[in-house]
Symmetry: C4
Subunit: 248 residues, 4 copies
């Protein structure tokens, strides 16, 4: 058993100029954007990544069928652009795993011919807010200006602690492999799955890659997700109440 296992789903040779990473993280912002774009653009899944660095857990789908927690790579061609997406269930549970997985993700990107990386995520502010800024970081100074033109905010204060996990590491290691990279972080409270923040990130990203993407379904999916979250919360409150009764 390999520490990291990459399963290519066909023998076809795929190509992508751009990699968009949206793995789970604060507010699920990056994941929401990536999943929305995959759906809107009709991207095709080409690879699945499993790893002993992921939680030792299986997911049960709506049909009661189990599968390993995994991340996935999708590709799509649209208006002369070829785009790969990296999204999925999990990030690594250990520091070592984060480094080794980032390296594996870039092996895939390199094999696809990726030249540009957009790493998406949320930036937790700890409070709800009306106007959502999209903060940025780049892996080469010359990328900053075009990002600012698209509305990305560069602040010397935010994010103060740097960027944790896959998003940061694939930018830094991407630079070493000659890939331009940019991180887009939508402000989010950090308490909920945040489609509003995802919408703000999508708007900036669309402008940067020059693709117009309908955001209606993102809003819908987000509303559905919020309903699910609400349901889980009620369920947990109910369980907690029962438990109190049982103990008390």
């Amino acid at each position: 058993m390999d520490d990291i296992s990459i399963k290519m789903l066909s023998d076809e040779k795929y190509h992508a100029d751009i990699l968009i990473e949206g793995l789970p993280g604060v507010g699920q912002v990056g994941k929401l954007v990536a999943e929305h774009m995959i759906e809107e653009l009709g991207a095709v899944k080409i690879a699945e990544i499993t790893s002993i660095f992921f939680p030792p857990q299986v997911i049960i789908d709506e049909n009661g069928v189990t599968r390993l927690t995994r991340n996935e790579v999708y590709v799509v061609n649209k208006d002369d652009r070829s785009i790969a997406f990296l999204t999925g269930d999990v990030q690594s549970g250990s520091a070592e795993g984060h480094y080794l997985l980032a390296d594996a993700y870039l092996d895939i990107a390199e094999s696809l011919g990726v030249k540009q990386i957009y790493a998406l995520g949320g930036y937790g502010t700890g409070h709800l807010q009306e106007e959502i800024q999209v903060f940025g970081a780049v892996n080469a100074p010359e990328l900053k200006e075009s990002a600012e033109n698209a509305g990305v905010v560069f602040s010397t204060d935010e994010p103060g602690g740097g960027i944790f996990g896959a998003s940061g590491l694939i930018l830094a290691f991407g630079a070493e492999r000659g890939m331009e990279g940019m991180c887009l972080m939508g402000e989010t409270s950090g308490y909920i799955v945040d489609p509003k923040s995802a919408h703000a990130v999508l708007r900036v990203l669309s402008s940067l890659i020059g693709l117009d993407i309908d955001a209606t379904k993102l809003e819908e999916r987000a509303t559905e997700m919020e309903a699910i979250v609400e349901k889980i919360r009620e369920h947990e409150s109910a369980k907690a109440a029962e438990q109190l009764n049982y103990i008390g």
Copy 2:
């Protein structure tokens, strides 16, 4: 020293069509069922598994003799069925260990010729209840119907967090090795060793594999276990009380 060590107890060549996994977990439900069936059917121990991923601890038996914490494989032939059991003292203490051990368990299963896996466990609800449902998950869609016919409940809400540890991983990895797999999870409070939940799981499992197994001893063993748990609790309460006296 290997990370995982499998000791076959004889040179004999064993065969089993079915693997029943009942390692320690919530309410010890899976372990109770597996141990009961081993006893009732007179299964024979054929292998012991030790690992550096297990707790660094020895167990002292009733004669004061130490042995490593370990898991065990048993086999039995009964009414044209050949069954292997995986049960024991522990699960892995690390994510990596969980993955590597699941793989090792399946190596054993494959060498026995296993075609079907039943992974048994408890599903913690946080409260005591009169009627115990047995929730299920399968590693291939076509298994669902027969499970439902045997009384297994498939719910899109439960278990919400997926399945943690060996039970889930051997189903998922089993699918990759061409083994059909099903997880049976008896509802249990999560606070006590739960023979009642084990009994519910045993009933469903008996029906699925078409073997009638007397549950009397399971109830007896369970009662004994509850008595031991009670004794430990009293002992701990007494120690806590003494300690308070000592500190206060």
Copy 3:
């Protein structure tokens, strides 16, 4: 750099029939006994063990000189008995390390020709007590009777949780290498370094190996240690008080 490094201090070929293990643990009971015997019998240090599984820390001796945390092996010949001691600063910080270190300790023991292991430790009761019992565990049933004759208590209840760390693992792995092994655990509160418990263990051990060892210095060393502990406690109370002043 090896994960575990064993430095033999000379090229001389040493032999020992008996290994006495007294690594740090509850009440420092095993370490107190081993260090006392090394001093009383004039045992000679023959090996030092360092490891990446030990805390990443150096110790500063009374001359201000640093050295790695390490464990040590001593040997002595006395009245036709040849004894090796394993004692030192630390145990492993990880489960994996515990297993791999136990294996390394036994490699040394095997190279010395060890046939019998005495693993010494404390058994934490959570309260102070007048009469100290020495609980035992053996790695082969036939060892129990002679232990009982020497005053060792075998209880089906104590120690309930088995034996954690090096003491337990070297007994279990020792059995696989054909070495007889016994663990002697002196009752101790678990709150203090406990020379009284060490004394009780020494008495039983002396009887078992048939060597009369003067316990006067053990009592003295213990008294000194208790004074040091007391001093550290006063120091910490003083610091805590100052800190409160600083914050408040």
Copy 4:
């Protein structure tokens, strides 16, 4: 991907007799001293060290550009002395990593021809104080006297717990490679970045290596740092207050 990656920034062959280590730690004392000396002496960066044992995080510089957390080696020649500096962003997140990194740091030191190591750090006292002592530890007894002549305090009580992390390990492993080593620990509260303690350490170190180094900028940088820390604290208090409003 190597567990530890050392990137030499040029092909030039550098030499240094002395290694001064100032990695992050209590009060950032060692890091402050090393960074000050690098600036004052105009040392040149020759190597960057990254590792899977470092936090899986990137740092964003003032231009919004990401880079991996890393440590760095600088060299300078001044008044017949050749000095290397080891400083940077991080220490290891795991025990194993601490050991393996210390070994890697010494590989670099050995390739430079280092004969003497000064490991710098803070010694946390838990309270603010007017007079700052510089405590010492050496990796060979004969170094103690010259250290004491330079004002270093050797105490059998301080630091009680030994030295944790890179500073201690490179002294201990340095001794095995024939390098003289000394640790200089400035007293510091442990609550703030402490330029005052750094100043005290610099004074002692200057005397020991016979180089007069202007401390003005250290004081200035320290004041700047304290302002930044203050700003972060205000920001966090503000965030915490907002959060309370949001929750309450």
